[in-house]
Symmetry: C2
Subunit: 242 residues, 2 copies
DNA sequence: GAGTGGTCTAGACCACCCG
DNA sequence: GGGTGGTCTAGACCACTCG
């Protein structure tokens, strides 16, 4: 076995974690196989056991490993794509899944928040929100109508940004809001006339409707969006835990 | 401030975590408020800083607190219902949301696994699977057609169970498989003739289609299900993290 | 520069599982 | 009893943020 060499600038536990992940991905560690004990691994990587545990902890959280108290640490069975579980935006998704993403700005306006929008964003009804409507294309085919509402107070300069080449979230992060989580409600609906025209489908065709609130890591709601996805071309994968 | 008293038998970091959680719940620590530094907290609770960090870590993972490197640790803003994030079954969901759940067994058969089913369950194509179809009612209205596939090898006695009064998962757990997570793919589809008849909707009406693989905590796939939910009555809420 | 969280060490004892 | 993971300590230095 090759000796482990630390790289400067990257935390050791991250390096070890990725090294383990690679071993699993390459099949050096097989499904169901028991890992060496934490003490052995710590010795192998020349770190303290606490550091070793931190690496393992991350992979357990991801579902790649599991532990049995008094028994050992094992490689979990299926290769769950944790990616699918993660909150991503349209452009990241395109990169992962290998399609070409484009967005066309349909409209941008500053309007008073409707009650439902206000509740989701935790602002007063009637407070100003920026409403951004975009049409999104995968490999040139329109797949999603995206209708976002953002509190004006949080991002007063949003209107001056080019939203066709960068994602809203990029702008949020530039303003110091780290996008952390989203809660989304999903429904199957019939396409309205407007949505049908935009996506070039029949009125009444099935559409995956998504109502989403996005939160920064301090818990501030920063975006509330209605999303209409073409039923025949779009699917959404999520993972849930008990 | 009252002195912190350790209880025997419960890990200290759990006690501290719950103590902090209570302070937040009771409003002693307010939204957005900065906590004392980790060193101060460690001193207050009379533990090492590493132990203190473990308590905080858990609450950060839950989204109750957030940290800013070089700045401090803060109480996050809204209380997200973590419930929505969790994997639940139809009967639990009914209990939470306050509707009356019923299931009607449509069919149960032992068949060879189709390629797609086999891949999801990580068994060979043609291996025996138990296919259980049920129709599910909320307050007496049919809302879901549930078409589950379970590896026969794992649960050979499944066929003798009454599936109208207990959930599949109850049976899995009796057999020693802890249901841990599920990956589900969602689509909007048109109702087929069969599905439409069962749920008393029009053929072609929008249906929220869900393809779900359920895993035990060691990663074994134990159930693969096609689920057809009435679009006009059913919605699904999920939370995603980055 | 002072204060914060982020990483890391080299130990220790405990709780659990198995043969 | 022997090995495993679970918890915990008392330090240390680093990276980041802010005034």
């Amino acid at each position: 076995m090759a000796e482990f060499v630390r790289t400067e600038g990257v935390p050791v536990y991250v390096q070890i974690r990725e090294s383990l992940r690679a071993e699993i991905a390459q099949g050096l560690l097989k499904r169901g196989e028991q890992l060496p004990s934490e003490n052995e691994l710590a010795a192998k990587y020349n770190v303290s056991r606490m550091t070793m545990r931190q690496s393992i902890e991350d992979l357990v959280d991801e579902g790649l490993l599991y532990r049995r108290h008094g028994v050992g640490t094992f490689v979990a069975y299926p290769r769950l794509q944790r990616d699918h579980t993660r909150l991503t935006n349209f452009f990241d998704k395109a990169e992962n899944e290998g399609f070409r993403a484009q967005a066309k700005l349909l409209s941008m306006e500053i309007i008073p928040a409707a009650p439902k929008v206000a509740e989701a964003l935790d602002i007063h009804t009637g407070s100003r929100v920026i409403r951004v409507k975009t049409l999104r294309f995968a490999d040139g085919v329109p797949v999603t109508v995206h209708d976002a509402h953002i509190p004006y107070k949080l991002f007063p300069n949003l209107a001056s940004e080019n939203l066709e080449i960068q994602h809203l979230w990029t702008i949020f992060e530039k303003a110091g809001y780290r996008v952390k989580r989203a809660v989304q409600r999903l429904e199957a609906r019939e396409a309205s006339k407007e949505v049908a025209q935009l996506m070039k489908i029949k009125e009444g065709a099935p559409v995956l409707f998504k109502e989403r609130t996005v939160y920064a890591d301090d818990g501030t709601p920063i975006e509330f969006t209605y999303c209409y996805n073409r039923g025949d071309l779009y699917s959404l994968t999520v993972a849930l835990e008990r």
